[in-house]
Each structure stands twice: as C-alpha cells, then as structure tokens.
C-alpha cells in the first residue's frame, strides 16, 4: 500500500484547507491507535495496516470533531459503508467528509462520499461476513434453545456495562441511548442477569439492518463478548429476508422503518 501517498494527500488536504482535521492511525508501542492530525507537518505520523480496525466514522458524532468539518478519514471499505449509511440516515452531508480510501493493500486516494460509494459498488460490492463468525453462528444454531441460553448467559455475565461497544459503533449515535432512559426504566442498570441480557439484545436489535459488520464493537469490548455473532445473525436475516445491503446506497431507505407488501409472514397466524 502506498503509505507515502496517503501521508502526502493528508498533508495537502490540511495545507490547502480542504480538510480541517485528518483522522487516521498512528503507531504507539507496537499498536495501532487513532491519530488526529491538524497540521500538514504531522501527517508523516500516519500509518496503516490491517490491525487498524477501529471504525473512525464513530468520531463524526463528537461535536468537537464536527466543528472541524470537513474532516478527512482513513477508511477501509467497511468504514466507507458506515459513512454512506450515515448519509442515508441523514447524519452526514455529502461534503462533511472526505475519504482517504484504503482497501485490499491498495490506497485509492482521496475520495468524496459519492466517489467512495461508487468505489464500494464497483470494487467491494460483496463484503462477506467473516467465515469464522458464520461458522460459530451455525454451531450455535445447532444447539437446543437451553444450550444457547446457557451460552449467552455465560457471555452476558461478563458484561460490565461499560458501553464501549456502543461508543465504538458509528451507527450508535443516539443522543440518549434507550439503556439510559429511566422513565420508565426499560433495561435494568445492574451489570448482571436480565439487565445485561436486555442491554445486549437491544443494542444488537437497534442495529438490525444497520450494522455494516465492521467489527469495531466486538474489538472494543474489554470482556471479549462475541458481539459479532448477534450483529452478523441480524445482518444475515436482514439480507435474506429483506435484501438489506446497508451502506451501499446513500439514498436507500432504512430496512427497519420501511416495508414491502410481500414481506414474509409465514410465521404469523
């Protein structure tokens, strides 16, 4: 990948005022962490490799970041999908963001959102769910409901309700999350039992048809809870039942929130 070109582009965007901030990655003690570059001469700190999995689109919800629009983001194909979906959900204007597009060992240059949308559809139209995640979903589906309940009971028991999963997800942009609404209190605040179940199930469900499977939530979870199983299951169902392809069309209607006369109702008596 042409890292030198990426750095050059980032520096140029800042130098000529086309971007007020470049968000990318830098190396710190052997790990890849988000970098916030405001001056052209710091652009050389930018790095990129496939350990850089944070979804930087999550930063676009921070007011102090939005203030610096237009913002240029280092984005892999999944992250580009987040951006397209944010636009489809009216959270972004077309000219709020520029994309420093990376993917498949290639640096694709600086793209507008419209260009990123085209690139996605031409080159990355079939981003498949991680095979390991799919295999694990199928393994769980073979179990009895009781076994599945036990599996999730053990997983959710680890949840501390730190909400890192929510914070890391670009699509979790609600000003006040349902889990924090307490009049009435829908989801128990205790980091245990039924509250943890409801929290994790509702978090996943609020992303049904919206999760673009970047994996940032699971990577963020300090407790190692396999959140992608929930997200990928719903992504699969949204795809199979309603042809959902979130993040490929900035004009698309939301999957949950729209409907079709012919939607399946085999399960309704």
């Amino acid at each position: 990948m042409d890292l030198a070109k990426l750095r050059q582009d980032a520096a140029a965007l800042l130098a000529d005022g086309r971007a007020g901030l470049v968000i990318g990655f830098r190396e710190r003690a052997g790990a890849c962490v988000p970098a916030f570059v405001t001056d052209a001469d710091q652009a050389d700190a930018l790095v990129y490799d496939d350990t850089c999995i944070a979804n930087l689109a999550a930063y676009l919800r921070k007011p102090e970041i939005r203030q610096r629009r237009p913002v240029a983001l280092v984005a892999r194909p999944h992250v580009m999908r987040s951006l397209i979906l944010l636009k489809a959900e009216h959270q972004l204007q077309g000219d709020d963001v520029l994309v420093l597009a990376v993917g498949d060992d290639t640096y694709h240059g600086v793209l507008t959102l419209a260009e990123a949308e085209r690139l996605l559809n031409e080159t990355y139209a079939d981003l498949a769910t991680d095979a390991q995640v799919l295999a694990e979903i199928e393994r769980l589906e073979q179990m009895s409901p009781e076994e599945r309940a036990r599996f999730w009971s053990e997983q959710f028991a680890k949840c501390t309700r730190c909400y890192a999963c929510r914070a890391a997800c670009p699509m979790c942009y609600c000003e006040r999350c349902i889990v924090e609404k307490n009049v009435p209190q829908w989801i128990s605040t205790a980091a245990a039992g039924h509250g943890n179940y409801a929290w994790n199930v509702i978090r996943a469900f609020h992303l049904a048809g919206r999760c673009i499977e970047c994996g940032a939530c699971e990577a963020a979870c300090p407790q190692g809870i396999p959140l992608m199983l929930l997200n990928a299951l719903l992504a699969r169902e949204a795809r199979d039942q309603f042809d959902a392809r979130p993040g490929y069309d900035a004009e698309a209607e939301p999957v949950v929130g729209s409907w079709n006369k012919d939607d399946d109702e085999g399960f309704i008596r």
Binding site: V33, E64, N182, A216, Q223
Partner: protein
C-alpha cells in the same frame, strides 16, 4: 523460607480453597485473562495482564445496598447484608495491591462504607512480583514498583529463573494464609529473580504542578480527541471508585443498587435541566487526569493512579494515562509553572 514450584500455583489455590478461602486468581477465560474465583481445572495465567482489577472483589460492579418490600401501602425495609467471604487475592499484580490504599481511603473518608469494609477485612492480599512488564506499565512513575509490598499481606517472589515461587508472609493475615497453605508449601531455599525493569517515565509532582495552573489549557482538546466516552478505562481501573445509585422497583419490591459509573460518560454530570458543566469529552477526560493526579494527591497525599496501564491496554480508542502524563510533563518543561 516457604517455597513452591511455580507450576504448582494451582495446587496452592486448591489447598486454600479447601481451607475455606474464596481464592481469586488470574485465569484464562476465552481469549482473555481475568481475575476470577478459582475453580478446579481453571488455568492460572500470571504472564498476561488481566482485563479486570482486584477491586471487583471488594467493590463489585453492581450491588444491592438497600431493599424494601411493598404490599399495597405497607412498606417493609429488608436487611441487606451481602456475604463477606474470607478471600485471598492470590498472584494479583503489585499495582492491584497498591490500589487498595486508595480504595481504603475513599471508602472511609467521610462515610464509613460497611459493605466495602466487611469485604476488605476478610481479604488477604498476596501479590506476585512482576518479572516482566510491558510498554504500558508505569508503576515506578507513580511511587510503585514491580516488587512493591504496598498493600500486601504476603508476597510471592518468582525464583530460580521462574521455576519456583517464594511466599513471604508480611502481616498476621499473611501468616495465617501460610499456615492454611500447609503442605502446598515446602521449606527450602530459592534465589529470587530480579523484578522487571520499569523505567520511571514522568514525575507526578511535575504533572500535578502543571495541572494546578492549566485547567483551561488548549492541550486538553488535543489530548482527548480520541476519547469516545465509554467506561472501559474507569471500569478496568483499580482505583476508580465512582458509583451511581439507581432504584429499581416492581409493584412488590424495590431495591437500591450501587452501580459503577464513569466520569467519561456524558451523563455523569448532566443536570436534569439539560445543562452539562462538563460539556465535551475534553472536560470529561481532564477530570479523569485531574482527579488522579491533582485532587486525590491534594486531599489524601496519594497518587490516584497505580500505573497499571490497564486503561491504555483496554481503551478502544487508544487513550493512555501514561501518554497523557508524559505529554503534560513535556508541556510543563516548555512553560515552567510559577513558583508560588
């Protein structure tokens, strides 16, 4: 000298569990290592940093602190006395043991917290000297050390090139534990291994001096751009102790819960009327640094951070206390604080 084979740590855990201790050890759990209650067959991992801290066993993430029964208009308070089992924190990190000074102080500051104190009194602390540290460890910058005995009732030293462990009792609780360990320990001799080399990275006094003058510094914006406002750091931190109280009621029963909370959340300071005195993440992250390196030192003559580095290891956004402090010290060097 009491010694055991390093590979026999699980036998020690077994013996102590048999002697009636709730044994808390770092164990493998999926792809993580965490402090958890020992159960036979678990794999003890002392070579990786646990994702939780020892505070989980003294100040649990959620607990019922009050309880009522309701029957129409009848209201009956119920007694809440959570169990305080005899516990040993075995092979925890010295920075975890050091954090107890902070927790002991805060839970007995203006209010004596019976729930915490009961658990604390029943706890024996046996840290394991670190012979390896990683890039996020900075205990030596905040008054700790990889072989520190602060907060310890007994100390485990790796010895003979990692093949043995020496168990050195330091307090009465530690002696009682050695007794309970009985045959799991042998009398013998072993040569303690050198503790990890953890170079000091900054001076907390300099950081504190800079903080005193720089509540409004522009640096806060820069330092906190990456912060996403979750609770991962605070919940992993051995010294963070903030909690939120929530009442949860049905028609027949009500409980008052004490849940962990974090100053990183926007809701932490948000008023009912909508105003938020810490309006952005810069203000929230500044509080995290200020609390640990200015307010706590001022009030209690302690540093509110033990340099464990957990926050940096677990932060999904790459925030790090070590990096913030070294950056602040750099800044302090550029513009020395006024003598007062």
């Amino acid at each position: 000298m009491k010694i055991l084979d390093a590979s026999k740590l699980s036998d020690l855990a077994d013996t102590l569990a048999g002697a009636g201790y709730r044994v808390v050890v770092p164990v493998q759990d999926g792809d993580r290592v965490r402090y958890a209650e020992w159960s036979p067959g678990a794999t003890i991992r002392t070579d990786a940093f646990p994702v939780n801290s020892a505070k989980d066993f003294l100040f649990p993430r959620s607990e019922v602190i009050d309880r009522y029964q309701l029957d129409g208009d009848d209201f009956t308070p119920l007694e809440v006395r959570p169990p305080a089992p005899r516990t040993v924190l075995l092979a925890v990190r010295p920075c975890d043991a050091a954090s107890l000074a902070m927790l002991d102080t805060i839970f007995n500051w203006d209010y004596e917290d019976d729930l915490y104190n009961a658990r604390r009194a029943a706890t024996t602390v046996v840290p394991l000297v670190c012979t390896r540290a990683d890039a996020q460890c900075f205990c030596t910058s905040v008054g700790g050390a990889p072989d520190s005995s602060a907060g310890a009732d007994a100390l485990l030293h790796p010895a003979d090139g990692g093949s043995r462990l020496i168990l050195e009792p330091l307090t009465d609780k530690g002696k009682a534990l050695v007794e309970a360990a009985g045959g799991a320990l042998a009398d013998g001799k072993a040569a303690p291994d050198a503790p990890a080399d953890v170079p000091a990275r900054f001076d907390p006094d300099k950081v504190r001096a800079w903080l005193a003058d720089n509540f409004e510094a522009d640096l806060w914006d820069l330092l906190s751009y990456a912060c996403l406002g979750c609770g991962a750091c605070a919940y992993a931190c051995p010294t963070c102790h903030c909690f939120d109280m929530q009442d949860e009621a049905t028609r027949t029963e009500s409980v008052r819960l004490r849940n962990w909370d974090s100053c990183g959340f926007a809701l932490f300071t948000k008023h009912a009327g909508g105003h938020n005195p810490r309006p952005d993440q810069a203000a929230r992250w500044r509080n995290r640094v200020m609390h640990k390196f200015s307010y706590i030192p001022e009030r209690f003559d302690l540093v509110g951070c033990t340099g464990c580095g957990r926050c940096a290891r677990l932060c999904p956004a790459g925030m790090a206390m070590l990096e913030a402090c070294t950056r602040i010290e750099e800044e302090a060097r550029k513009a020395p604080a006024h003598e007062s």
